[in-house]
Every structure is written in structure tokens, then in C-alpha cells.
């Protein structure tokens, strides 16, 4: 406005009537106010042209900021929002410049993240090897074997929380594949067709449900896989994930896509089917190939080891028991084979049950006793024995004993199939034995030359006919007389045997005698002494137990006669009789 009025001054005098008066006024005003007018113009100039003003301010601005900044925080507080807004505006306007600037910082960070992901994968692979030794590992091996899947895959399915297996960078408008990365383990079908289908599916869903363009399909689930779709303005990322990914993964994917958009804005806008420029997106796509594996609980492993330990112990114990049972069993068989009268024809053991078949002489040792002796439970050992006659000497002997039933005074022994009987026995028994002996299995001949046979009365008679002679006036049994007493002793023993069956006892009286010479008192005493001497000799032969010996003393035989006769009277005689048992005590005392 002001400049208009200024410019109108030279134009004004051209037309209207009162021009001259106006001119005068102007001249007067100029004359009067010229210095003030100049000053006024100068001031106006200053106000209108800030540049002049700014120039002056610029001279003091840095100092001013420095001084204020030292004083308090107000300046930075005031500036912060503007700086922030300015930065956001700058990023919006040219993201590329910003990304270029920070790429050197981001690059190493991303590489580090990938390295870490790889590291965790190797660790988990190592662990899968460890797993193969644990109980869980065995279970998985079983599962792998059952389902026909590789073991590594079974381990993966069980320990994997999630793993991004493939990442597709897809041009949004055409559905064409810009770039694709996959883990080594992933099964990659035709990625171009997949990227087309993924796009078509989204279109289809949007078409079918009448969704608006900003409503997008974010997730598709196919079996054990989840496909995450992260939308961008020009391209979208599709991540094929096995397992259950955490929500935080979305941010990683989102960041990767944002970087790609920033870096390849032009290539995306100009895309006409040539995907070559997008090879450069490889690191960003790879940064999305994340995985997380579950760590097995430590305690579980310990439990597994304890279980394995118990199993091993059990196996060892079982093995030891089996070994012991086996050695007991073979020991039993050895013992049975050694045993006379036992022949094993068949023996087998099965899961702690034993079975023996064979031949056994009825007189042989009871096999059950041997089973117990060997330390096996008789209930577990089944035995079937067929009876037979064994020819082992002890058994033949036992058989002869049981069939012939010899009295105690008879001894048997075997000499190469010949049964030899010694001792003494009644003629009746001896005759019976001779008849039966050869019928005893295992005995071919019978010999009883050494067997003395006599009847009781004959034996008593032999005793009673015995006379022991003494020298004159002596009561000592001469050695020559002892032979006779030996015979008496033997006969007594025999008798004792013979009568043992009946309830009778042999009663023996010893009578001492003297001749008529000498005083009668002395003779009585001598006769007594002679009887006692004989008893003493018999006692030496331990007949006190075999027979009852009664000491008898008598008066000298009241007979006159020759010397010969008197010699005959210096004797002791014996009188053996049979008495019913129980009368000994009465007769013992004269």
C-alpha cells in the first residue's frame, strides 16, 4: 500500500483542477519536515527489509544461544519439538538419504543378529545329538521310526517354538516375486507360483468379503505352517513360519520391509518384471529368518539319567541272578551225575523253571535233598524218575541189606559182584541168605565161608563145657587158659545177638572150685577169688554189657581122691542159661 501512494506522487499532477494547491502543500511539508521524513523513511526501510535486521541478529545469534544455553534449559526445551518435527519431515521427504546415513550403523547390527540366529541353530542341532541319548531322545527315535520321518525333523518338531523357513518379497500390484530366501531345511516349491497364489488369495479374500483396500489378510495357516503377510505400499513380505511365532517377530518383519521400501523406492516404483535389482534385499530378508528352540528342562534330563541308572541296575541284577541260577543249576546236574544210582537222561531250564528226566535206583539218595543242597527252590524243579537197579557197589550192598536183613553179627561187603558175609548167624538165617543172595540184583555170587552158624543151645553147651584151670593155691588166670575165655567171649557175643530178638537174656554163672587140701576157710576164699578172676578177664573183653555175668562161689567139692582128681578140682566153671529179661538185678546180688 505504502509503495502505491509513493508511486502515485509523480502521476498525480496530470489531470484534476486543484493540482497546484496540492503541490504547494507538498512543497511546504517537504521544507518543514524533510529531516524527520528522511528519518521516518529510514525506520520504515528497516522494518520492511528484515534482511538488514537478520544480518545484525545473525551476528549475535551464536553468542546469544551460547549464553542462554549456559543459563538454563529453556532454550533446548523450546527448540526440541521443532527439531523433532523437522527430522520427521526430513525422513518423509527423502528416506533414502537418512537410510544411507544410518546404513553403516545398521548393517553390522543386522549381521550380528543373523550370526546369533545361526549360532542358536547350531546349538540346537548339537543338542539334538545329545538328545539321542536321553529317554526323550529314545522316544523321538521311536516316533521317527514309527512315522518314517527323519530323526532330525522329529527333534525339530518337538523342540521348535518357531522358525521362519522362507521369506518372499512380493510386488504388490502384480503379485510377481521380487526376491526369496529360505533356510536350508525348508522345502521350497515353485516360489513364483506361490507368490502369485499368495497375492491371488489376498485378492480373493478381499473380493469375497468385500473388504476395503486397507483391510488386509495378515495371516494364513496351512497345517503346521503359518504364513505371515506384512503389507507395504509397493511390496509385501510373506514369511512362512513353522511353529508359533512371537508377536515381536512382526516388528522385525515390519522393520525389514520398511528398510526395503526406503532403499528400493525407485526400483519398486519402476518395476516392470525385472527382479534383478532386488537381489540387494537379501540381507533384509535373511534378517527375518529367525528361529527359536525350546531348551529342555535340566531336571528332566537328571530324571532320565536316574531312570537309565535304575534300568541298568535292574538289568545287571537280573543278569547276576540269572547267572547264579544257571550256575546252581549246572552244579545240581553235576551233583546228580556224581550220585550213584541216578542217571540223567534229559535236563532243560526255561525262565527259572527246571525239568529233569532220568533213571533212579529207589535206594539212591533223594534228589530233592540235592536240589535243596544246590540252593534251588524244589518247587521250580520238576523231576521225573524211572526206577532201575544200579550196579554201584554201595547200592548193591544196601539192596542186599534191605533184602537179606542180616543180624547185626553179620557183616556184608562186595568184592566185584560177589557178596561176602562174615560174622555169625543162626543156621536158619544162613540158609535163607544163601538162597536169596544171588537173586539180589547186582550180585552174581554169595560167599559165607567166614560165617559162623550155631544154634543157641549148642552155644550154651559150649560155654558150659568150658573149664578154666588154675595152679595150686593160685587165683590167677594163666595165659594158656585165656584162649578158652576168648572163645567164651565170642560165643557170648553171638548168643547175645541171637537172643536179642526174643525178650531173653543170657545168664552166666562163674563157679570157682578148690581141691581138698588146705584149710576149708582158705579154700572157700580161694574158690571165690578164682571165680572173680575169670569174671575180671571176661570183663576186660567188655562182656559186662553184652551179657550178664554173675559171680558164684561154692564150697569145695566134697570129694576125696587122687592128685589127678585134686588137680581137676582147681578150676572155675561156667554155667550159661537163658533168663527172661528183668531178673538180672535179683540174681546179680548173691
Amino acid at each position: 500500500m505504502s509503495s502505491d501512494s509513493g508511486r502515485s506522487l509523480p502521476n498525480s499532477p496530470t489531470s484534476e483542477g486543484f493540482t497546484s494547491r496540492e503541490e504547494d502543500w507538498t512543497q511546504l511539508r517537504t521544507l518543514l519536515l524533510a529531516p524527520e521524513q528522511t528519518q521516518l523513511d529510514e525506520l520504515r526501510e528497516r522494518l520492511d527489509h528484515r534482511m538488514v535486521h537478520s544480518q545484525e541478529v545473525s551476528q549475535v545469534l551464536p553468542e546469544a544461544i551460547a549464553i542462554r544455553g549456559v543459563g538454563d534449559q529453556q532454550l533446548s526445551n523450546a527448540l526440541t519439538p521443532y527439531v523433532e518435527n523437522g527430522f520427521i519431515a526430513a525422513v518423509r521427504k527423502s528416506p533414502r538419504a537418512i537410510v544411507d546415513a544410518i546404513a553403516p550403523i545398521m548393517g553390522p547390527a543386522i549381521r550380528q543378529a543373523i550370526a546369533r540366529a545361526l549360532q542358536s541353530m547350531t546349538q540346537s542341532l548339537n543338542r539334538s545329538l545329545d538328545e539321542s541319548l536321553s529317554i526323550r531322545g529314545l522316544r523321538w527315535r521311536l516316533e521317527a521310526w514309527r512315522t518314517g520321518r527323519p530323526f532330525a525333523e522329529v527333534v525339530l518338531v518337538h523342540t521348535l517354538r518357531y522358525r521362519v523357513e522362507q521369506v518372499f518379497l512380493i510386488h504388490r500390484e502384480t503379485g510377481l516375486l521380487l526376491h526369496h530366501v529360505a533356510t536350508d531345511a525348508a522345502v521350497v516349491q515353485d516360489q513364483h507360483v506361490i507368490s502369485g497364489m499368495l497375492t491371488a488369495i489376498q485378492d480373493y479374500v478381499r473380493d469375497s468379503f468385500g473388504a476395503s483396500p486397507d483391510q488386509t489378510l495378515d495371516q494364513v495357516e496351512v497345517g503346521e505352517w503359518t504364513v505371515w503377510i506384512e503389507q507395504g505400499s509397493q511390496a509385501y513380505l510373506a514369511c512362512v513360519i513353522r511353529g508359533t511365532p512371537p508377536a515381536s517377530l512382526r516388528e522385525d518383519v515390519h522393520d525389514a520391509l520398511a528398510h526395503i521400501h526406503a532403499l528400493h523406492a525407485n526400483a519398486l516404483a519402476d518395476f516392470a518384471g525385472d527382479a534383478t535389482p532386488f537381489k540387494a534385499t537379501q540381507p533384509y530378508l535373511e534378517s527375518c529368518l529367525l528361529a527359536h528352540y525350546e531348551r529342555p528342562p535340566k531336571q528332566g534330563a537328571l530324571k532320565g539319567w536316574i531312570l537309565i541308572g535304575l534300568i541298568v541296575l535292574g538289568v545287571v541284577w537280573w543278569g547276576w541272578m540269572a547267572y547264579q541260577a544257571q550256575s546252581r543249576w549246572s552244579h545240581l546236574l553235576d551233583r546228580l551225575r556224581e550220585e550213584p544210582g541216578i542217571v540223567i537222561t534229559q535236563a532243560r531250564s526255561m525262565w527259572g523253571d527246571y525239568h529233569i528226566e532220568g533213571l533212579r535206583d529207589p535206594l539212591a539218595k533223594a534228589p530233592t535233598a540235592l536240589v535243596i543242597e544246590a540252593g534251588l527252590n524244589p518247587a521250580t524243579v520238576k523231576m521225573e524218575w524211572a526206577p532201575f537197579y544200579a550196579l554201584d557197589a554201595p547200592l548193591v550192598l544196601a539192596r542186599a541189606q534191605s533184602i537179606l536183613r542180616p543180624p547185626e553179627s553179620v557183616q556184608f561187603h562186595i568184592e566185584g559182584g560177589i557178596l561176602v558175609a562174615t560174622g555169625s548167624a543162626s543156621p536158619d538165617w544162613a540158609r535163607e541168605a544163601k538162597r536169596l543172595a544171588v537173586l539180589v540184583p547186582g550180585i552174581s555170587q554169595y560167599r559165607d565161608d567166614g560165617l559162623v552158624t550155631a544154634s543157641i543151645s549148642a552155644l550154651l553147651d559150649r560155654i558150659n563145657r568150658t573149664v578154666i584151670h588154675f595152679p595150686s593155691g593160685s587165683s590167677t588166670v594163666e595165659p594158656s587158659e585165656r584162649v578158652a575165655l576168648d572163645t567164651v567171649a565170642a560165643i557170648l557175643r553171638e548168643l547175645d545177638q541171637l537172643v536179642s530178638q526174643s525178650s531173653q537174656r543170657v545168664h552166666l554163672e562163674v563157679l570157682g572150685w578148690t581141691d581138698a587140701t588146705g584149710p576149708p576157710a582158705r579154700n572157700l576164699q580161694l574158690s571165690q577169688e578164682r571165680a572173680e578172676a575169670v569174671v575180671a578177664v571176661l570183663r576186660e573183653k567188655r562182656l559186662d554189657k553184652a551179657a550178664t555175668v554173675v559171680l558164684g562161689s561154692v564150697r569145695p567139692l566134697d570129694q576125696g581122691g587122687s592128685n589127678q582128681e585134686s588137680a581137676n578140682q582147681r578150676v572155675a566153671t561156667l554155667r550159661a542159661t537163658l533168663t527172661a529179661q528183668g531178673q538180672d538185678s535179683q540174681t546179680a546180688d548173691p
Binding site: L176, L177, R206, G273
Partner: protein, 173 residues
């Protein structure tokens, strides 16, 4: 190698799927299984010493209940309009679909084919009508997915047109 999105357009049961399967896998089936939504197939060809990966979007056929939405056409570098020689009405559908495609993706190359040439005696579409199409500067081919006649020619014709056209023409608003 450049990739190109190509759409198969046409009425229902005209033989879009059959043509694609004949071209991609060289198989044909008499059984009719209608396409629901879209099936994507792919085949690489070389024309004028340029390798092209043709990503074929086999769309569902248009009928009175289902109109093909422009949604699926976006980003196509070319399209194929299929008609069934034995059904005259498929011509009208083809015309309408071509209009939709032109509106959506702009002046990109396209080829049309009248399929089922093996049943020529039963054709309802006559030479006169075909001339009219050619007057509209349509490329009209004949073929039979059943016999495999004219199938490779169909796709190669389109591929050649796409290569010859300067790439800038593909970028459209």
C-alpha cells in the same frame, strides 16, 4: 529374465484352464472342474532372445452370477481373452471383459482365441463376427486345448507383443 503377469479372461467353461494346462503341462482332461477364484501357473518362454517368465493367472469364468473383478487384473502386462466357438454368448462376455481389462490395466497387449476348434461343425461364432473383432484391431486366433492346436502360438504371440512394446507402456497410473 523378466516376469510378466498375464490374465486368462473369458466366460465360464470356455477352456481357460484347459489352455493353461495344455500350455504349461501339456495335458488335457474332458472333465470340467470349474475354477474358483484364481489358479496361478508359470512357464518360461524365450522370444526375440528375451527370456520371459509368464506368470499365468487363470481366473474364474464370468457368468451371470459372478463378474470378474478388476482386482485380479491389476498389474497384468497382458491378457488372453478366451471364447468358446460353440457358444455365441461367450463373445459378448469376451467383449465386456476386454473392456474391463482395458480400463483397469490400460493399453497392454492382449490376444483373443476362439477355443474348441476341434468342434468346428458346432460353432455358433461365424466369420462375419470374427471380421468385426479384427476390425476393432483384436488379434483373433483359433485353437483347441483338446488337440493342442494353436495353444503355444497363442501364448507366444502375446509374449512377442509384450517384448516388442517398450517397457514404459506398462507403467500406468
Amino acid at each position: 529374465m523378466i516376469q510378466k503377469k498375464i490374465c486368462m479372461l473369458g466366460g465360464f467353461a470356455v477352456g481357460k484352464t484347459s489352455l493353461v494346462r495344455r500350455f504349461v503341462s501339456n495335458v488335457f482332461s474332458d472333465q470340467y472342474q470349474t475354477t474358483i477364484g484364481v489358479t496361478v501357473e508359470k512357464k518360461c518362454v524365450t522370444v526375440a532372445s528375451q527370456e520371459i517368465m509368464m506368470v499365468l493367472w487363470d481366473l474364474y469364468g464370468e457368468d451371470e452370477f459372478q463378474h470378474v473383478r478388476d482386482l485380479y487384473l491389476r498389474g497384468s502386462s497382458g491378457y488372453i481373452v478366451v471364447m468358446d466357438g460353440t457358444r455365441k454368448d461367450t463373445l459378448q462376455t469376451a467383449l465386456a471383459l476386454q473392456q474391463t481389462a482395458a480400463n483397469t490395466v490400460g493399453p497392454v497387449p492382449f490376444v483373443s482365441i476362439i477355443n474348441k476348434a476341434d468342434m468346428r461343425s458346432e460353432w455358433e461364432i461365424d466369420e462375419h463376427v470374427i471380421e468385426q473383432l479384427r476390425d476393432r484391431s483384436w488379434t483373433v486366433l483359433f485353437g483347441s486345448a483338446k488337440l493342442g492346436q494353436g495353444v503355444d502360438e497363442l501364448f507366444l504371440n502375446l509374449a512377442t507383443q509384450m517384448v516388442q512394446r517398450p517397457p514404459l507402456s506398462n507403467t500406468h497410473p
